[in-house]
């Protein structure tokens, strides 16, 4: 399977609409779109508001904090390049602002629990910084 040698970790396929999201991650913080009309926060980035269909959205800095809705410890990765990193944890985080996102969870297996308070930690596995999440520091 010489193919495997050429496989690297898949990078995000960035689009013009999502570009500001990834620029904010590069700059070290989480930005989300907010609808100018219904004021709901939106993830993933879009051209329109999926809640009220308004087309005027503004990029705003988000808290980067949320709660762990669910998670899985991956033993057999769906992408060959991720297999050497197993076991690792992916989960869904419900952000304080409302939307949820799927992300890599930097919490040890025994400490995982429903509604665990988590916060973003920008990490580089592979060539691109990504918003991973870790346990929230107690002081915050």
């Amino acid at each position: 399977m010489s193919q495997l040698q050429n496989i690297s970790l898949p990078r995000p396929t960035i689009t013009p609409v999502s570009q500001p999201f990834w620029e904010s991650i590069q700059a070290g913080h989480l930005s989300l779109q907010q609808c100018d009309k219904c004021e709901q926060w939106i993830f993933y980035p879009r051209e329109h508001c999926p809640h009220c269909f308004h087309d005027s959205l503004t990029w705003k800095k988000a808290s980067g904090r949320g709660r762990l809705k669910t998670w899985s410890v991956i033993h057999r990765a769906g992408h060959p390049a991720w297999q050497e990193h197993t076991p690792y944890v992916v989960g869904i985080v419900t952000l304080e602002e409302g939307p949820s996102l799927l992300t890599h969870i930097l919490v040890e297996e025994t400490a995982l629990k429903h509604n665990l308070k988590v916060e973003m930690e920008i990490s580089e596995i592979g060539p691109h910084p990504l918003p991973f999440f870790k346990k929230q520091e107690e002081t915050k």
Partner: protein, 386 residues
């Protein structure tokens, strides 16, 4: 008020699943499935004037209906690609009946098949949001998504590994009466399922479908025309469909999944209720799908599938016959054709030709299809009486 759906299934054809299909193309498996279904219906290919096919048929990413028509040697007056993931099979049956009612055609072949070869290369990359926001985080493929749903159910409701394992147990048990099933002669106990390798914790290997090569085709025609057929027609009595999201991160809450709409809608349209269903032919790519489907169908309260599964029998002679052919977990899943196999089994049962696994006096079946991450859902009520 939506009009009552009219239509009937007059022919079925299904290939015995195999782990790998050496030297077959998807088109050749489609042709074999269609030939069987047409033969079963007792019609000739010239009688077929409608064709529904799945998306990206193996070697053919575009112009799929034309490619399949040409390969089969048919000239339909209506053809379409149906792209609903695992809900494609049941979704086709409903669309076929609607096209016939609309006067687009009279007799539709719905077909799904898939080759499966050793060491096949990955599918081509794309630019959809999942590729941008899930895959880079280490979450590729359905195993992760359904593990997340299972974990959520366990956390929110306190369901246990044993609860989920019992679902896989029944599917394997039922497969022991079907010589065509990939797991025929390979029964397992609840403990074996829990002891099988963890793939994406909390999801075990034996809670996941076995990908196989295979195919299935179904002939749908008008209720009037069906009466002239070779077999006792199986009527489409009700249908419901709901699509809510694509990625698991965008899923509605676990007690408001889209089957909560599509199943009651199909039952209402058929003017029946869940207690009058004789066969539950439920899409079962993972145990967590069956668990939430039982809850969405109203067979038990949200969060309580565990007790329900513990207290009932799901074999053909039990009180809630479930996937009597083995389902995807016992029969195997030939890609999207795994959804059609639930339709095919319902037809066998309603015709009374299911042999050693025949449900006594089977009159009505609930058939479901599920695509992506409980995203695309279709429910059908099929019945032996018009």
């Amino acid at each position: 008020m939506a009009s009552q759906i009219q239509g009937a299934i007059t022919g079925i054809g299904e290939l015995k699943p195999v782990r790998y299909s050496e030297g077959k193309t998807t088109l050749s498996l489609i042709a074999e499935s269609v030939r069987l279904a047409i033969q079963d219906a007792g019609i000739s290919k010239e009688d077929v004037d409608g064709l529904l096919v799945g998306p990206q048929v193996g070697e053919t990413p575009q112009h799929v209906p034309a490619t399949v028509s040409e390969y089969l040697g048919i000239d339909p007056t209506m053809s379409n690609t149906v792209d609903l993931g695992g809900a494609t099979g049941p979704g086709m049956i409903w669309r076929a009946a609607a096209a016939i009612q609309a006067g687009m055609c009279e007799t539709v072949v719905c077909v799904l098949a898939n080759k499966n070869e050793k060491g096949e290369t990955l599918r081509s990359p794309n630019r959809n949001p999942i590729r941008e926001f899930d895959v880079p985080f280490g979450a590729s493929g359905a195993n992760t998504s359904y593990a997340l749903i299972k974990r959520q159910h366990m956390e929110e409701y306190g369901s246990t590994q044993e609860d989920f394992a019992r679902i896989a147990y029944w599917h394997r048990k039922n497969a022991q009466l079907n010589p065509d099933a990939i797991f025929y002669n390979k029964p397992v106990e609840v403990e074996d399922i829990i002891a099988s390798p963890m793939i994406a914790d909390p999801l075990h290997l034996l809670e996941i479908v076995m990908p196989v090569a295979g195919g299935a085709a179904v002939v749908v025609t008008s209720a009037e025309k069906a009466a002239e057929g070779k077999h006792k027609p199986v009527y489409l009595k009700g249908a419901g469909e709901k699509i809510t999201h694509r990625a698991v991160s965008q899923a509605p809450s676990i007690d408001a999944l889209p089957f909560n709409y599509s199943i009651p809608r199909a039952l209402d349209q058929a003017r029946t209720n869940i207690e009058d269903i004789d066969l539950f032919s439920l899409y079962d790519c993972y145990t967590s799908v069956v668990a939430t489907t039982l809850e969405s169908a109203g067979l038990c309260k949200p969060g309580e599938f565990g007790d329900f599964v513990k207290n009932h029998s799901f074999s053909h002679d039990g009180d809630y016959p479930l996937n009597t052919h083995g389902g995807q977990l016992g029969f195997g899943q030939a890609d999207l054709a795994g959804g059609m196999s639930h339709v095919v089994e319902a037809v066998h049962q309603l015709r009374g030709e299911a042999g050693n696994r025949q449900i006594p006096d089977a009159r009505q079946a609930l058939v479901t299809g599920n695509g992506a991450t409980l995203s695309e859902t279709t429910a059908l009520v099929l019945g032996g009486e018009r």
